[in-house]
């Protein structure tokens, strides 16, 4: 761990803020269905016992309430609760009442992801719904998604628990509004693989950060260097960390160092998808599609000529570019769920009149609102927006002739990455600042995350927000990669690619979450290469199943 960029100071703040964050997260659960009452009771128990809702498990009678019941209610046990200001009423049965609904409860560690516990049981008495409640020391009580409580064999998973952590689990059977909970069962998650890069969280301000509890991303186990020689060689890992930086989920292909760097949530189902390809351009690239447990749904779709990034449409179509594997015929393509491929746009044709236009794109992002796709040509300092249906070039931004003008000017993109359209319709990019080049020596305030209003009437990009150019901004630098993404609460999630740093920023540029994948003892500008990130608050939304 290095101390440049104020990490030492940030670390000092962490402890204080984390405590605040923990105590403010009551009602914590894996989904937001009708389990609030049970959870609040259990949560109170957990805080008293210091365990994992053991005391809460015995509590009963707490009515559901979106605002949460009082801690005192947790110790009443048995009697119907009187609290609850709103929401559907759920009554919790007596301690261990769930045992009359189930038998043969087992808790085992997933063989595919050691941080996942697999819970199986036999439903011996039908219920309207069943789900898991679970927690671990220091956590509030979380819950899985309710399933139909039919008789017979059941399986569910515990998501969100760090590795090597003792966990308490209850099976809840809800019948006629009464939540019947089993006694406590225990399991301990397995260790996170020792070869996985471990992040350091040096800042988390729960009061200003997005309410999302987890960060999903990709990181390469890069080596030590001060140029690009140590990148794109190591093993790529996908991960989910909580706000304390604890790994609660991971994936890596043990057998190869293929690149999987742009994980995203599927749009046509409740799973994750990511590209997988050899950077040497050997072999056939694919898109991996799987739920977090990699059992509920797991598919690898071969996508010939997929060259870099990939995105997905609402109907499951895969959008990708072909430049690296079909040089001279760089196309934006779409593969539908049935595997049918169509060409949307051909870069070489579109820029045929531009001498030596290099069509390598580091970005493929779909904008649902405009049904358009953004490609980013870093070597040409240009972003292109293409109509997905017609293949028409809607606009270019940056250096290419005919591009929208920057306002204020002069301005330019330099080796930009991850161009995307925000829900508000603005354009976000990660870019070196105009007076620098991608080959400029590493240094502070040379790289920025930039947001622009797109003034289509006047063909202008009006600068709205820039982070990185000011002294008060983070001093990190990205040799390559980098991304910025607008979060639901208006914050921005940014990362510095080769810099190995991820920040969550408020619109007024305050850092509220700071993560680093460091390379010990290395130049601080060169960390482990981080790929795409996004935050989420419901891990079960990535474990629901495949395409619908």
């Amino acid at each position: 761990m290095t101390t440049r960029f104020g990490f030492a100071l940030a670390a000092a703040e962490l402890g204080l803020v984390l405590v605040a964050g923990c105590t403010s997260s009551s009602g914590d659960h894996g989904n937001d269905t009708s389990v609030a009452g049970a959870l609040t009771g259990a949560s109170a128990g957990a805080s008293v016992s210091g365990g994992v809702g053991v005391v809460g498990a015995g509590s009963a009678g707490m009515p559901s309430s979106p605002t949460g019941g009082s801690p005192a209610g947790a110790s009443n046990g048995g009697s119907a609760g009187a609290g609850g200001s709103a929401g559907a009423v759920s009554v919790v049965g007596g301690a261990g009442s769930g045992e009359q609904f189930v038998s043969g409860v087992t808790v085992t560690v997933s063989k595919l992801v050691s941080t996942i516990l697999i819970v199986t049981w036999t439903q011996t008495k039908a219920a309207d719904q069943t789900w898991l409640e679970f927690g671990f020391a220091g956590s509030s009580v979380m819950a899985s998604r309710p399933q139909a409580g039919a008789l017979g064999a059941h399986r569910d998973v515990v998501l969100g628990v760090p590795g090597s952590t003792a966990t308490t689990v209850r099976v809840v059977s809800k019948l006629a509004g009464v939540e019947n909970k089993t006694n406590d069962y225990s399991g301990t998650t397995g260790a996170v693989p020792s070869g996985m890069p471990k992040p350091t969280v040096s800042m988390y301000d729960a009061t200003l950060a997005s309410p999302d509890r987890w960060l999903l991303g990709a990181v390469e186990n890069s080596g030590t260097c001060t140029d690009d020689s140590c990148y794109f060689n190591g093993k790529w890992w996908l991960y989910v960390i909580d706000r304390q930086g604890r790994v609660v989920w991971y994936y890596a292909d043990a057998a190869s160092n293929d690149v999987s760097s742009f994980p995203r949530a599927a749009r046509d189902g409740e799973y994750l998808f990511v590209e997988k390809r050899a950077f040497s351009t050997s072999g056939t690239p694919s898109v991996l599609k799987f739920t977090l447990d990699r059992e509920t749904y797991n598919q690898a779709v071969q996508v010939p000529l997929l060259s870099d990034a990939v995105d997905m449409t609402d109907d499951g179509g895969l959008l990708y570019d072909t430049e690296e594997r079909d040089r001279g015929n760089a196309e934006l393509r779409e593969m539908d769920r049935q595997g049918k491929v169509r060409t949307i746009w051909n870069c070489d044709d579109a820029f045929a009149s531009v001498p030596n236009f290099l069509c390598y794109s580091n970005t493929v992002t779909w904008d649902k609102a405009s049904d358009s796709v953004l490609l980013s040509f870093p070597e040409m300092d240009t972003v292109a927006q293409i109509d997905r249906k017609t293949g028409a070039l809607m606009a270019t931004y940056g250096a290419a002739a005919g591009s929208y003008a920057f306002s204020p000017a002069p301005w330019s993109f330099v080796w930009q990455h991850y161009a995307n359209i925000t829900p508000q319709g603005t354009l976000l990019v990660s870019s070196h600042l105009p007076k620098f080049t991608k080959d400029s020596p590493a240094g502070p305030h040379q790289h920025a995350f930039e947001e622009f209003e797109i003034d289509r009437a006047n063909k202008r990009l009006v600068q709205k927000w820039v982070y990185g150019d000011a002294e008060a901004d983070g001093a990190e630098w990205a040799l390559s990669r980098g991304m910025a993404l607008k979060l639901g609460n208006g914050n921005l999630l940014v990362n510095y690619g080769t810099g190995g740093v991820i920040r969550e920023l408020t619109p007024d540029k305050k850092t509220v979450f700071l993560v680093k994948f460091d390379v010990s003892g290395a130049n601080d500008y060169f960390g482990k290469l981080v790929g795409h990130n996004f935050t989420l608050d419901d891990l079960y939304a990535l474990n629901g199943g495949g395409p619908k």
Binding site: C230, D253, A254, A255, N257, K276, P285, R325, E379
Partner: protein, 229 residues
């Protein structure tokens, strides 16, 4: 020294393009684990190396005769290297390794070789896609094997190719290969080798090389292997 040239890093093409399908590799890994631990199923031979098969969906059930190895752990084998390279020089090291924990852990075996230019590479090195000439090619020699790590004798008992035990190390010592670098826009840079058997240059995997600094680095997995007794 007849087999070594084809086997060494040059791990050859089988390691590339074989891992398109993670659903094939993962179940295989677990099948290999169980087979190895029980010593009965011997699934490692088939299920444990789907990555080298190029493809199809693995069932993960293993079974069959397999190799019925006596090795108790599954890992991955491969070669990583660093060097300073110019058009006229190649000076660096290569490490043949076994990674534990099914390939997701740390090294349990590391054998380091010095790798240095001893002459000009074979003629004809060119990019497999574009046909462009390689930026450089050299005849390099592996020498001076050093056991950096040999956790619980992992190097001495594995089915990795090439073998990393004393005999295998001695066999590799002095091996010469023609190695080249094919640059591409974007990320397609490839480490090339001249394959004596096929008598042509082939891409063996991704490599990074900075022309400005001369730094070269690669890490190419050859897939699952088994180790330990």
């Amino acid at each position: 020294m007849t087999w070594t040239i084809a086997a060494v890093l040059l791990l050859s093409v089988i390691s590339i393009g074989c891992s398109d399908d993670s659903s094939a590799t993962k179940p295989g890994a677990s099948g290999s684990d169980s087979g190895g631990n029980s010593g009965s199923a011997g699934t490692a031979g088939s299920g444990g190396k789907p990555a080298t098969s190029g493809g199809g969906q693995g069932t993960g059930t293993g079974g069959g005769a397999g190799s019925a190895t006596t090795f108790v752990n599954t890992g991955t084998c491969g070669e990583r290297g660093k060097a300073n390279v110019t058009a006229t020089a190649y000076d660096g090291t290569a490490e043949l390794y076994i990674i534990g924990e099914g390939g997701l852990g740390m090294d349990v075996c590391t054998i380091r070789y010095d790798v240095a230019r001893v002459g000009a590479g074979q003629d004809g090195c060119k990019d497999p896609l574009s046909g462009a000439a390689c930026a450089w090619s050299h005849l390099v020699e592996y020498s001076n094997p050093t056991v950096v790590l040999n956790l619980d004798g992992a190097c001495d008992a594995s089915d990795g190719v090439p073998p990393l035990d004393a005999a295998g190390r001695a066999e590799l010592d002095g091996t010469r290969i023609s190695r080249g670098f094919s640059a591409a826009a974007g990320h397609g840079d490839s480490l090339m080798k001249y394959d004596d058997t096929m008598q042509k240059w082939i891409a063996v995997g991704r490599v990074s090389w900075s022309e400005a600094s001369g730094n070269l680095e690669y890490d190419i997995s050859s897939g699952f292997c088994n180790y330990g007794r």
